[in-house]
Amino acid sequence: MALLQIAEPGLSAAPHQHRLAVGIDLGTTNSLVASVFSGEASVIRDEAGHALLPSVVRYLGAGAKAVVGHEAQASQSDDPHNTLSSIKRLMGRGLRDVSNVSDMPYAFVDAPGMVSIETSAGLKNPVEVSADILRTLRLRAEAALGNELTGAVITVPAYFDDAQRQATKDAARLAGLNVLRLLNEPTAAAVAYGLDNASEGVFAIFDLGGGTFDISILRLSRGVFEVMATNGDSSLGGDDFDQRIYAWILATTRLPTPSPQDARRLLTLARSAKETLSSAASAPITATLGSQQSICLTLTQEKFFELTADLVANTLKPTRKALRDAGLGVEDIKGVVLVGGSTRMPNIRQAVADFFKQPPLTDLDPDQVVAIGAAMQANVLAGNRKGDEWLLLDVCPLSLGLETMGGLAEKIIPRNSPIPTARAQEFTTFRDGQTAMSIHVVQGERELVSDCRSLGRFDLRGIPPMVAGAAHIRVTFQIDADGLLSVSAREQSSGIEAAVVVKPSYGLQDEQIAHMLEEAYSGAELDMKIRMLRENQVEGRRLIDATEAALAEDGEKFLSPPERMEITRCLHALADIIETGGNDSVKALKTACDALNQATQAFAARRMDASVKTALAGQRLEDFASAKPVPA
């Protein structure tokens, strides 16, 4: 008969309606699956007792089943071209987005939207490879839980953009998993710790995985998790430490450049030496290579620390930045959570302890923390716990906004806003009778659209003709719980609407995000100047348009030739400055605008008088007795 688990009071499921849900940590190097058993989250192991599934897939040829995990990892040196690892780096990426293509021994084929890899089983894209990993975890979980899964929570780095999140969801669907929600990895780690230990306060999540480093500052209070800031380095991880040992082996033995097979072999040895050094003072490295050359070395912990000192230091730079973004000092951090197998290295732990002036939390296995947190969240979402006990808030990593006149970026959702979120702002038309508006959605911190990243465009058509500035167009930006953005625009008087769901084909790398932020800080002053310039140019153009329209209509009627000449002169002077004035023309622009305003003052007054006369013609004073004065 079926085996039962203990449920929370009042929540035991009816037969055949168990809502089995798992949490999956789909990692660059290793992946895990966890679930809640009788109220306690734990990692599900395979038949051999392994919790970690190496995120490695080997394709054996057309029709054959892909090999996933340890077995694939073991064959990495024998069959490097068909054995795919670190595929997470390629999720939702085009070939030109991937920085270290030359370091990967694969036959890349650039396809629209996402890179693919030529293997013996045909062309594989990162979504398919990730799906093979997820499918293996799903089967493992179903074997352990004894039934089909209701759903899964899958974790992604906080920095993953829309394209990467979408790719992750697609992979899950391909693997036969129902995605309950994508959850940011640091938030999952916080869930695992925050609830088990019922802690409150500000925490730092220091996540050094196989290939990526992420630091997140989270605030936990009354069961609400808020990500205050995130930062990181997408190309820093345990692999880099392996590379240092590998380079050291080559340098020490004066080996020529090894074959791909030997290189893999040596890298595997480097990794196990690194792991040994987390608990031992020295590690032996012995191997016989394809060239029959044998290696016999000993690496001491001291030497290892020396080889990797700069890598350790590199984790602290983004950490400092994240703290600054959150507006906090080291003394505000109540605890530091270590995530990722690489945080087992004693030099990392020491560096973290020194930086934060406190020993980091290590109660939970750093490899399992994220999966366990995801499992706890999945359990809530599947309805196995009373739902509203906790709420999860994440943030968007870069500001989102749209393009306004003059190529300026107007931010609608500021950076680090908790998500899900929806914000609306009203915009209006620039020209008389304007019936369409192009909404250009951009992401970034800079003031100019050309310095931000374009996410998508759409048009709002059918705006009723009105004078410039009279239309009320409400633009709403909405980010859902998975971090996906939708934008809609609605003209208030007519109710016409247009919307777009943003799924950019190319994503942003962490370092691009970091770079964009850096530029935003260093370019802040220049940006402000340019914004002022553009704003004045837009104002100038509006003035020219209005003056020209008025001249065409009433110029003959109200202006003497010299007056008209003076206005035209000012008009041309202003147009000249707009067209040819450089970046320093703000002052000149203002002067020219003022001059034109001055020149047209009498003209404007006469037009006003005339229109008032027209309106009053044939009416008696008594008709206006009850009219209220309108404030100027």
């Binding site: 008969m1 079926a2 085996l3 039962l4 688990q5 203990i6 449920a7 929370e8 009071p9 009042g10 929540l11 035991s12 009816a14 037969p15 055949h16 058993f37 009788s38 109220g39 306690e40 599900i44 192991r45 395979d46 038949e47 493992r140 074997a143 352990a144 839980l145 004894g146």
Partner: protein
Amino acid sequence: MGVTLTESAAKRVQTFLAKRGGIGLRVAVKTSGCSGMAYALEFADAADKDDLHFESHGVTVLIDPKSLPYINGTELDFVREGLNEGFKFNNPNVKNECGCGESFAV
């Protein structure tokens, strides 16, 4: 009679209770499922005034009087079947069970 726990089941329950808190384990029968009856196994945070209390290997087992006849004499075991592990009811009252064993008839 009542319901008893095997030593391994009791140990497991005690581990859970130590972590989670709660006064014991509630065993009940619900009228649902493809063969008429289904087991419910829950943590107990409080006892109802009609509850029957049983003690087995240091674990308090709470049963409401209406459920007792269906499960009187049951031994609750904790077993591992392959990767799957969980609690198993050895209920002498059962005449019929659905294929999966999640529900039963007496």
